[in-house]
Symmetry: C2
Subunit: 260 residues, 2 copies
């Protein structure tokens, strides 16, 4: 945790007046990813689990194949992660090409072409979850969010199965936290299919698509979704639950998987 | 507001049991920007103020020049905004080129090269603001955040001057909300220099750099900053205040501009 939080001297104004104070602030750092020697992207992320971030991001965006191992991952403390794979991914050439046309910051068009192909890739699962387990898992997520408790301004994500959180990561970016969790699972050879993805953050269409690509039937959030995320969840077969707080929650799609 | 919120039938679980319920959910839509016929980017944004979003985004990212007018902006309800300018921006060729190397989703490298040049562009201002005015403005921001009050999951941003909020916008994206406000000011021919930028969201380095480029000396947030944002604020001369809630706030940099 030593790199993820930094001490700063700041001024606090409160009913007690104005005072100098030491506070902990979450770290943000540019992290550049390379695949087989070619630069892919620079992300802004919280230090820690950078290997997992790189793998998860490249998996989410289609740069890596889920069915093939990674040859080598090297993390340089200056914020560079180099991955090597010894297979040809037909998507990669396309991704390098597409970036020349559509990216910049939105990731939008790449994603929104993927939508078409997602229609075919419905998330099928006959799994059920009891209401009380949803509450329990969200409490667990909150309990583990140590950086959040210390600094605010950070998102937590987890991959859970049954009663248990298997992987948990925090990051200043909602997307990064989810990618770190996916990368952690992949590096341990654990499939995400059929599991539960949890996030403290809002569920935008991008988060929902990340889950759908990993064949995850349950997506739980402390916050709320966008309309597009709800539309997609209903369409692809994901049980999307939001605003899980105290003893309340909102089920936006596929409530048949939530047992009383 | 008719396009920004959509009604959904969902299931609510609470101490009262499980019930069908109608709820309002914030809209998210892909918006593709074109400049002089060339596709620039696809953003995911909340409908409303799409003209302002397009102009603000392109201004923030260096596609537009601040000192020259825009010839034409056309918003197509399907989510396409076409801008026309009749000048050559030497940066534009570079930006199209850079994207082939570094973008994808992070925007990182473009930004982090900009950092170097920012050293030269310090935000100079002898303006002061009284503590109580900071609290008052944040209350105003909260009061105006109508979409947030109705749906949660949305960020507000405002450009303020003196006691007054001049422009206010909401969006599912922190960056989008700020860009909408900048676009609105530019379209009315109002300079952002010397004004106050307010956001409900976290202050990452990207938000701070956006403010610095617009020569804004005051950046106020309901939430907290990252360490990189604080470092940059101290370096470029921005008064960064976070966690402005009730009668408390944290001053992270250049507190000499905050009068008691």
């Amino acid at each position: 945790m030593k790199d993820t939080l930094r001490r700063f001297q700041v001024e606090k104004i409160s009913e007690k007046g104005r005072e100098e104070k030491e506070t902990l602030i979450i770290a943000e750092k540019p992290v550049t990813l390379f695949l087989n020697g070619k630069e892919v992207v620079t992300l802004l992320a919280t230090p820690g689990n950078l290997k997992e971030l790189a793998v998860g991001f490249m998996l989410s965006e289609g740069w890596l194949r889920e069915d093939r191992p990674i040859e080598k991952v090297e993390v340089d403390p200056e914020g560079v992660v180099r991955l090597r794979v010894n297979y040809r991914n037909p998507l990669v050439e396309k991704l390098f090409l597409r970036r020349t046309i559509t990216s910049g910051c939105g990731r939008g068009t790449i994603f929104y072409n993927v939508l078409d192909s997602m229609g075919a890739a419905k998330v099928r699962s006959s799994a059920k979850i009891a209401q009380k387990r949803v509450f329990y898992l969200m409490q667990e997520l909150n309990r583990r969010s140590v950086l959040y408790q210390k600094s605010g301004s950070v998102h937590g994500a987890a991959l859970a199965e049954g009663e248990q959180i298997r992987f948990f990561c925090e990051d200043i970016g909602r997307h990064n936290a989810v990618d770190k969790v996916f990368g952690a699972a992949f590096l341990q050879g654990i499939s995400t299919a059929g599991k539960i993805l949890m996030t403290s953050g809002r569920v935008s269409s991008e988060i929902l698509i990340k889950a759908a690509k990993r064949r995850i039937p349950f997506l739980f959030s402390y916050s709320g979704p966008t309309d597009l995320a709800v539309d997609l969840a209903r369409q692809v077969g994901i049980t999307l639950i939001g605003y899980i707080r105290g003893n309340r929650m909102m089920i936006y799609s596929h409530g048949e998987r939530v047992a009383r």
